[in-house]
């Protein structure tokens, strides 16, 4: 994407360029057993290069947001704008990382990283080179020609992240990418993700259930209400990057965490009759 190819970038209310924007989006899942309203009038904007985390109770529509942004799920109402253009379907320049690594067991790690390229064309030598660079970025260059079953869960997830970045995506969508990992690998992966994000400078939408993880990684943390999902809190995390384990024991870090925890506490109280 060159600057010339995105002429009508919409300014957000506060005047900052917004690259990805959801405007009053509602989403209703229609099924035989009745309709499920997953999102109601949700507005969200993501600035260029921003790391945005989304928190919310289970079933409030977080994964639904990612499905919409990836172009797989048309919205029931409202609009999704990417660089000012309305999102109509899959674009091919959006990276996705799921909770499970979801790799192709029958292909090498390198071939797995190249999968999104292969979807639209035959990978060139430079694509292959880029894939190797990404594997190096996630610390797996020596496993390029190994198969996923030769890797641990955390390593497989890193292959998934490299794959998410292969098309130099406008945004990397991550749906609880570390939820299946053990606590130790989860902490290392969190620090590594920050390094990857800082090295690549991509926008990220990161879904998690872990408040410290969200605060540690993000520029902004958005909290959703229970189903149907609405934004109930939009918190800017004003801590310098790179953040380290020392950051986690600072006063502001804990205040941010406390603020977010209080939101969930209040919600739970409200639900009790």
């Amino acid at each position: 994407m060159t600057a010339a190819s995105k002429p009508n970038v919409l300014p957000t209310p506060d005047g900052v360029q917004s690259s990805i924007r959801m405007d009053d989006v509602s989403l209703v899942y229609k099924s035989g057993r009745g309709n499920v309203e997953a999102l109601a009038d949700l507005s969200l904007d993501l600035k260029e290069g921003e790391f945005l985390s989304v928190l919310g109770p289970s079933g409030c529509g977080k994964s639904t947001i990612l499905k919409i942004l990836s172009g797989l799920l048309p919205v029931t109402k409202g609009k999704v704008l990417i660089d000012g253009a309305e999102l109509k379907g899959p674009r091919g320049d959006i990276g996705i990382v799921f909770q499970q690594p979801t790799l192709l067991a029958w292909q090498t790690n390198l071939q797995n990283v190249l999968m999104p390229v292969r979807a639209s064309k035959r990978p060139t030598a430079s694509d292959r080179e880029r894939a190797l660079k990404l594997l190096e970025l996630v610390g797996l260059e020596e496993f390029a020609n190994h198969y996923p079953y030769e890797l641990s869960g955390g390593m497989q997830q890193r292959v998934g992240i490299a794959r998410g970045l292969i098309n130099d995506p406008r945004v990397l969508l991550m749906d609880e990418p570390f939820a299946a990992l053990d606590a130790m690998s989860r902490e290392t992966m969190t620090t590594e993700l920050q390094q990857i994000w800082m090295a690549t400078n991509r926008s990220v939408v990161f879904i998690t259930h872990s408040i410290p993880e969200a605060v540690f990684l993000s520029n902004r943390v958005v909290t959703l209400s229970g189903r149907p999902g609405r934004v109930v809190d939009d918190l800017t995390i004003d801590l310098p990057f790179p953040r380290t384990i020392d950051t986690m024991s600072t006063q502001p870090f804990n205040e941010y965490c406390h603020h977010l925890r209080a939101l969930f506490q209040a919600k739970e109280k409200r639900q009790q009759p």
Binding site: K67, S70, G71, L72, G89, P90, R91, G92, I94, I96, F98, Q100, P101, T102, L103, L104, A105, W106, M115, P116, R118, A119, S120, Y147, P148, Y149, E150, L151, S152, G153, Q156, N167
Partner: protein, 254 residues
């Protein structure tokens, strides 16, 4: 090497027990021949070459029927798994056909196709089709939904999703079907040869039976057993080689 030695030893013990049984049980030789008698017969038909016509006929019938049946099973299975319209249109007929014990059709097929190989091959096709078809459909449906979403988000074509995700996912199940089908192919061929044939191992068993030539029956059955074992082993080998990512020690937890 050790495995071969073990199999050889176990076979040796079996033959010894068999010989002892024939020797000491008092069962007359014209009902259960000694291993030596069977071996002699085997040696005779091999050295005068008369057996090869029968082996070839049976292997040819079973092989051609198997290839067609398994191929069509894979094709129709893919079609039905991929297109729900095809599924709605074709499946009721297949379910009906599936409930018929196929060997019951052998005499009818002879009436329709005559005494040549065609009728026999059709029976083998009918018998081998179903296990491959059923396993193909089931296997294709187990493809990871998120993986498919990922392909769709990259604007991949349906054909690419089928060949890169669904088909490899189904490979193991398809092989399981192929292994069942290979045994059915031999059964189908033998039954068809019982009903009507001028050659083939089934024909040989049938003719030897009318002549009370029990050693010859045993020889033919021994060859059939070896054919069955060899083809199953070959398939299992191909399975392990082609579906290499699903070994017992693989880290497939994703």
């Amino acid at each position: 090497m050790i495995r071969v030695a073990k199999s050889a030893a176990s076979l040796g013990v079996f033959i010894l027990l068999w010989a002892a049984f024939v020797q000491f049980s008092g069962v007359p030789n014209y009902l259960v021949p000694s291993p030596l008698a069977v071996g002699t017969t085997l040696w005779q038909v091999i050295s005068d070459g008369s057996i090869f016509k029968h082996i070839f006929t049976t292997v040819f019938t079973a092989g051609v029927g198997y290839l067609i049946g398994a191929g069509v099973g894979l094709l129709i299975g893919s079609l039905l798994a991929e297109f729900s319209i095809a599924d709605k249109l074709i499946r009721p007929y297949l379910v009906g056909l599936q409930s018929i014990p196929k060997v019951a059709l052998a005499p009818l097929l002879i009436v329709w196709f005559g005494y040549g190989l065609e009728g026999k091959i059709v029976l083998v096709v009918l018998m081998t089709f179903f296990p491959v078809f059923v396993n193909t459909v089931a296997g294709l449906h187990t493809a990871n939904k998120e993986l498919i979403d990922l392909y769709r988000a990259s604007s991949a074509s349906r054909l690419r999703i089928f060949s890169e995700v669904k088909l490899p996912t189904a490979a193991s199940a398809v092989f399981a079907g192929l292994e069942v089908a290979v045994v059915l192919a031999l059964i189908g061929t033998i039954v068809a040869e019982f009903v009507s044939a001028k050659a083939g191992l089934g024909y040989l068993v049938q003719v030897s039976s009318t002549n009370y030539d029990v050693p010859m029956m045993f020889a033919a059955i021994t060859i059939l057993a070896m054919l069955g074992i060899a083809s199953s082993k070959l398939l299992r080998f191909a399975h392990m080689r082609l579906v290499f990512w699903e070994g017992p020690r693989r880290n497939n937890d994703y």
